[in-house]
């Protein structure tokens, strides 16, 4: 109970800290509009105007992923810049518990990206918000967000070790959302991407959300997403303990 409260309070306060950043606010205002526009025009140009909701949901998922990826990488780097990374690592708790609230907070702010993208899609382009399973959609999105938050912990483990974590985040953004089928169906991608896609929680999370929006069995995809994410959480937690020790040996917790 104490642990859950700590994670809850941590995620809440990190969300508060993130949502007050002028950069985050500007990004949150602009990016969903851009992504909604791109997705809608992409599908219109492809002669599939009937799948505009799918396009908007896909664009929203890209927003959630970007938020988790840049949030996890950026948050660790921000903690380092702020001088708070050392302070949280000094707490007498397993290091993963110090980082999980941060990645969850980035996933929560990512949820906003999904909502904003759908809203802009509706307001600017008249995307019909006719969800096949509206209630399941409301469940699939937080489920996917939670899964990505846990995946974020695994990413964050590597970022703790790297002083220039930003470089890694930049190279991971597009390949992951492409391979996960967030916007483009997996069937149009080369066959060798299949196993990679199957191993990523982002693929199953995106599939669950798409199925909730356009129709299909949501539960299996959501279940697989959460199962893989749980695996990421456990691996991330173990890695974080190892990485924290490495970081103390290599002196990378602080900027200098």
């Amino acid at each position: 109970m104490k642990l859950l409260r700590m994670i809850g309070v941590g995620a809440l306060l990190h969300t508060k800290q993130l949502s007050r950043s002028p950069f985050e606010i500007a990004t949150a205002l602009i990016v969903p509009v851009v992504q909604a526009t791109l997705a809608v025009y992409l599908f219109r140009a492809g002669g599939e105007p009937g799948r505009l909701l799918e396009a908007a949901v896909g664009a929203g998922l890209m927003g959630v992923w970007s938020s988790v990826l840049f949030g996890s990488g950026g948050a660790i780097q921000n903690q380092r810049w702020q001088g708070t990374l050392e302070m949280i690592m000094l707490a007498p708790r397993p290091p993963a518990l110090m980082i999980l609230p941060i990645t969850l907070a980035t996933a929560v702010t990512g949820t906003y990206a999904m909502l904003a993208t759908l809203l802009w899609g509706r307001l600017l382009y008249g995307v019909p918000l006719d969800f096949a399973h509206p209630l399941l959609f409301l469940l699939a999105v937080p489920g996917c967000v939670l899964g990505l938050g846990m995946f974020g912990l695994l990413l964050a483990a590597t970022f703790v070790l790297m002083r220039n974590a930003n470089a890694l985040t930049n190279t991971l953004e597009y390949p992951i959302w492409l391979v996960s089928g967030m916007l483009v169906p997996l069937t149009v991608l080369p066959g060798w991407t299949g196993p990679i896609a199957a191993a990523l929680p982002t693929t199953w999370g995106a599939r669950a959300v798409h199925e909730a929006a356009s129709g299909g069995p949501v539960w299996p995809s959501l279940g697989i997403c959460l199962a893989i994410s749980l695996g990421c959480l456990i691996t991330g937690a173990l890695m974080m303990t190892y990485v924290e020790r490495r970081a103390r040996a290599a002196a990378t917790l602080a900027l200098a």
């Binding site: 104490k2 409260r5 700590m6 309070v9 941590g10 306060l13 508060k16 800290q17 007050r20 950043s21 810049w81 702020q82 001088g83 708070t84 050392e86 302070m87 949280i88 690592m89 000094l90 707490a91 007498p92 708790r93 110090m98 020790r245 103390r248 040996a249 290599a250 002196a251 917790l253 602080a254």
Partner: protein, 336 residues
């Protein structure tokens, strides 16, 4: 309970870094080169030294943020490498400067977050936070965002954060850096109060007056090793047999300072800038009157007040640090 709050034996730390890809250069910096010290329970211990002497690295080795390259350290009897969590339960860490806080959160939110991290029981949190806000005189401003705080207020919030879980040992790394004199005096009072209640404090500072006023014992560290250790009175004896001449001047050149260094009886000479003026401080043997020679060496320089005085702790500190043999050779470039 261990006899000592802090024990370090043969503590060493080498930083290794690598730059470049095609022809990588590996660098090694030996920041701490064998520190031995013990600090008793409830003692207020000072660690003095110039920039780059190894003060912060020593603190980070003791508070588990860094792993020693060699040697051992124990806090309240617990090893800093193998019993990390036990050590962390017992320590608080406060460092100087603007960083280390969540700027866009209020002081209360900052404290609430760290109270959770440090395992302060939920039912006790509210009372403890209120108590600490009052202690550091931030009550009434606790709901404002930290980004609007002055440096002194941030520093006080750092202290409150460091005390949330009632640590037995508190590490204060240059807490008064950049803080105005009034705030620094308040800070000293807070530190003295803490020590009076039995908290062991390890303080690093550049300010001699601060160390002199607060510390039971002081270690002077330079080039990664402890050069002198004792009570302020004991350390002052390192300047015994000396007298100090201070000259306010405008435009002392390096060549003139070098000449003063070579005068008979002169042990140390340094120039510090105070506003528009320079203050030339010359330490000499007590039996030798160097004033006339010094003034002659300053021929052509506009002079202000000239005064002679007894050595202070600061003079002793300068004497100890300057006595450190040959300049340190921290950098050793090795081509891979």
């Amino acid at each position: 309970m261990s006899e000592y709050a802090i024990e370090a034996a043969g503590l060493r730390r080498t930083y290794r870094s690598r730059t470049g890809w095609l022809r990588p250069q590996r660098r090694e910096v030996e920041a701490v080169r064998g520190v031995d010290l013990t600090v008793g329970n409830g003692e207020l211990f000072g660690l003095l030294g110039p920039n780059g002497a190894g003060k912060t690295t020593t603190i980070k080795l003791l508070n588990t943020l860094l792993i020693p390259t060699a040697g051992t350290a124990r806090i309240c009897g617990h090893d800093v490498v193998t019993e990390t969590r036990e050590v962390r339960r017992r320590i608080g860490y406060v460092f100087g400067g603007d960083r280390g806080l969540y700027e866009r959160l209020s002081a209360r939110d900052n404290l609430r977050y760290f109270a959770e991290l440090y395992g302060v029981p939920g039912r006790e949190q509210k009372r403890r936070i209120a108590e600490l806000l009052e202690l550091v005189r931030l009550d009434g401003r606790e709901n404002e965002r930290v980004e609007g705080y002055s440096r002194g207020m941030r520093q006080r919030l750092h202290i409150a954060r460091g005390l949330l879980h009632r640590p037995k040992v508190l590490f204060l790394d240059e807490p008064s850096i950049g803080v105005d004199p009034v705030a620094a005096r308040e800070l000293r009072q807070t530190v003295a109060d803490l020590a009076a209640t039995g908290t062991t404090v390890l303080l690093t500072t550049h300010y001699m007056a601060e160390a002199d006023e607060l510390c039971d014992r002081i270690a002077v560290i330079a080039s990664g090793t402890i050069q002198a250790l004792g009570t302020p009175a004991e350390l002052r004896r390192h300047a015994d047999g000396r007298q100090v001449l201070e000259v306010e001047a405008y435009g002392v050149t390096d060549a003139q300072l070098a000449t003063i260094h070579t005068l008979p009886g002169v042990r140390e000479a340094s120039v510090t800038v105070a506003g528009a003026a320079q203050v030339l401080t010359v330490q000499s043997d007590a039996g030798v009157d160097v004033q006339a020679d010094v003034l002659r060496a300053l021929d052509g320089v506009r002079l202000g007040r000239v005064s002679a005085r007894q050595p202070t702790l600061e003079d002793a500190y300068v004497a100890i640090v300057n006595r450190v043999a040959a300049p340190s050779r921290p950098l050793e470039a090795v081509t891979a």
